[in-house]
């Protein structure tokens, strides 16, 4: 079931994948240039929100595959989880740990940022999708 105009539909078809890619880019470069988990999360949430306006909440849920609520859960676990590795090293919680995994700079701040990204995505979408769905039930 489709709502929205043709232009919006076409725009969404091209914009949404682009926005998702862009958000990943923002997420990864965030440590060095403007961007980061928040901004990236907001961008991608905006993308899905747009998709949802065009294609309806059902389609967005299909596209997402996971319930946005679970995104929050996973994101939170990543966020809290990134506090603990330092404990193993005998350092205070949240102390950044850096690992070199096959040439990639992997670190707890990065995991943390990914958690932030997922939480922002999940929270915004939970709100937007639920609002739309409930609206639909009521009308």
């Amino acid at each position: 079931m489709k709502t929205g105009t043709l232009i919006l539909t076409v725009a969404a078809q091209t914009l949404v994948p682009l926005q998702i890619l862009f958000s990943l880019f923002l997420l990864l470069r965030g440590h060095d240039e403007p961007g980061g988990g928040f901004i990236a999360g907001l961008v991608v949430a905006g993308a899905f929100a747009l998709h949802q306006f065009v294609n309806g909440p059902q389609a967005t849920r299909r596209l997402l595959r996971v319930d946005p609520r679970d995104c929050i859960g996973i994101g939170l676990l990543l966020g809290v989880g990134s506090a603990f590795p330092a404990w193993w090293q005998g350092e205070p919680f949240l102390t950044a740990q850096w690992w070199d995994v096959m040439g990639l700079k992997l670190s707890t701040p990065l995991i943390f940022d990914i958690g932030v990204y997922l939480v922002v995505l999940g929270s915004v979408l939970t709100a937007v999708i639920t609002l739309t769905e409930v609206d639909k039930d009521e009308t």
Binding site: D32, E33, P34, F38, V120, S123, V124, A127, L131
Partner: protein
């Protein structure tokens, strides 16, 4: 620029308060949006405003300029913006539900809980 901003912030505070004092819950929410923005701007302004010197260390290894914008209040404001967004999205849905339950957009009709 800061003195100008001080006035701007004062204006936003005033409008926010005025909106919060209306009887309409929609206006109340707009008031909440305004007042959160005012507080964020306040932090940003009071810490000092700097032109054209974002707190980004050049990737090419160049040293930072002598005067750069204070990154700490920026981080605080960013946190505050996101928190305010969380609160606001909650408030927005809250007024929607309240309107559904009460049936009017009038705060004066919402006083069963007290007295």
């Amino acid at each position: 620029m800061e003195p100008v901003m001080a006035v701007v912030i004062g204006v936003i505070y005033a409008t926010a308060i005025y909106m919060m004092l209306r009887r309409s819950i929609v206006k109340l929410v707009i008031g909440l949006i305004l007042i959160s923005n005012a507080a964020n701007l306040l932090i940003f302004t009071v810490a000092g405003m700097t032109r054209d010197a974002p707190p980004l260390i050049p990737m090419n290894g160049d040293p930072l300029g002598d005067v750069i914008a204070d990154p700490l209040p920026q981080a605080l404001v960013l946190t505050a913006i996101v928190i305010a967004f969380g609160v606001l999205s909650f408030a927005v849905v809250l007024i929607r539900r309240a309107y559904q339950v009460v049936g009017v957009d009038d705060l004066d009709q919402m006083k069963d809980t007290d007295t």
